[in-house]
């Protein structure tokens, strides 16, 4: 079992210029931020290195941070029983991330889901289709600027009751 600081240190020595930022000391969510272009190498290292042995990809999450997206890879190791996370940042205009499907089989569906809901394109993914939403759905709902469609295939999607305002943070009294 390695603690997060050791993992981050190992990453920094191995991939000096690729580690942009790290948040490991007394952190609730120890992670490092890495360069997109080196992501695949770093993941390969984390998976194959004996002291890392991150054999389990728990989740891939896309986070909308305004001008850029964060892609978070949450990984654990059954062998060493430790956890870590890798973050990478891609610009909103062209969110392209290399796929890690060939490293963890679990990545296949998680990447599809992230593509579906966040619109991040995973390059090298064998079958990058929408997974939860219909194939002809427009837009990526988890983006902050997503506008709810009025209808889909002629089905009205929102049923607003008359005289039933959304709560918002409205105050009834001044």
């Amino acid at each position: 079992m390695a603690n997060p600081e050791e993992i981050a240190k190992a990453l920094e020595t191995e991939f000096k210029d690729a580690v942009l930022d790290s948040n490991v000391k007394n952190s609730k969510f120890p992670h490092v931020v890495v360069e997109v272009s080196r992501l695949n190498d770093i993941c390969k290292f984390l998976l194959n290195d004996d002291h890392m042995a991150f054999d389990f990809l728990s989740a891939i999450a896309g986070v909308d941070k305004g001008d850029e997206f964060e892609v978070v890879y949450i990984i654990h190791s059954y062998l060493r029983n430790h956890s870590f996370a890798i973050k990478t940042r891609v610009p909103r205009s062209g969110p392209r991330v290399p796929s890690v499907c060939d490293l963890w089989a679990a990545a296949n569906w998680h990447e599809r889901e992230t593509y579906d809901l966040m619109g991040i394109i995973f390059e090298g993914h064998p079958d990058l289709r929408r997974i939860l939403l219909p194939q002809d759905w427009e837009g990526h709902p988890l983006r902050k600027d997503y506008k709810y469609p009025k209808s889909y295939d002629g089905i009205e999607l929102r049923r607003d009751d008359d005289n039933w305002p959304d709560p918002g943070d409205k105050e009834l009294y001044e």
């Binding site: 009751d161 005289n163 039933w164 305002p165 959304d166 709560p167 105050e171 009834l172 009294y173």
Partner: protein, 207 residues
């Protein structure tokens, strides 16, 4: 030999399974003959060993005691699905008896003119009940909410006549408040005038 071993194993295990089903056959059934039995009646406990009445804490359809509602809107804000709509007006200050825990009286100046709960949206999660300080909104054990009209799913807890009455009260109260305010202002103005003149006078007297 596993060939005959398999046969024996199959026969034995099937016989065991059949033993279980035949034993279940002589065990009394668990079914509650629901419409015939009033499941809300606490006396039905003991009707059969496995029959329990709907529990006291059961989260059925919400209901509201508008007398104790102070229109603080906590329930509506706690609701994750926005199924509660409240509108209130400021009225005369009254006291509702024994509503607060500990039997304290509840001072109240706000009155709901609209208290609607959309039971079609309701999740029956209980967050509104926990949010309410006065116990005005609470669960009944009623679970039959079926209706043929979507509109009936909205439960109105303040009747129109009651809303009218409160509106009138509120208007009177507003008028009274306005009058009082006006009087106060007039008094204040008067006193200020007095002060002003009073302030001037000595000067004048001085002169």
């Amino acid at each position: 030999m596993s060939y005959f071993g398999d046969i024996v194993e199959a026969v034995v295990s099937i016989a065991k399974g059949m033993g279980v089903t035949i034993r279940t056959m002589v065990r009394p059934p668990e079914t509650v003959q629901y419409p015939d039995i009033d499941v809300l009646d606490p006396k039905m406990a003991g009707y059969s060993a496995n029959l329990k009445p709907v529990s006291e804490r059961f989260r059925g359809i919400l209901t509201v005691n508008t007398d104790s509602c102070v229109v603080d809107n906590l329930c509506a804000r706690a609701c994750p699905v926005n199924c509660i709509q409240i509108e209130g007006l400021k009225g005369p200050k009254t006291k509702a008896k024994n509503l607060l825990p500990g039997g304290k009286d509840l001072p109240k100046t706000r009155y709901p003119v609209r208290f609607d709960i959309h039971i079609g949206r309701c999740l029956y999660c209980g967050l509104c009940v926990e949010a309410c300080n006065t116990g005005a909104i609470y669960f009944t054990r009623e679970f039959r909410g079926q209706t043929q009209d979507y509109g009936n799913l909205v439960r109105h807890f303040v009747s129109e006549s009651e809303a009218e009455r409160i509106k009138k009260l509120a208007e009177e109260e507003a008028e009274r408040a306005a009058r009082e305010k006006a009087e106060k202002e007039a008094k204040k103005a008067a006193s200020e005038e007095k002060k002003d003149t009073g302030g001037d006078r000595p000067e004048g007297e001085d002169q």
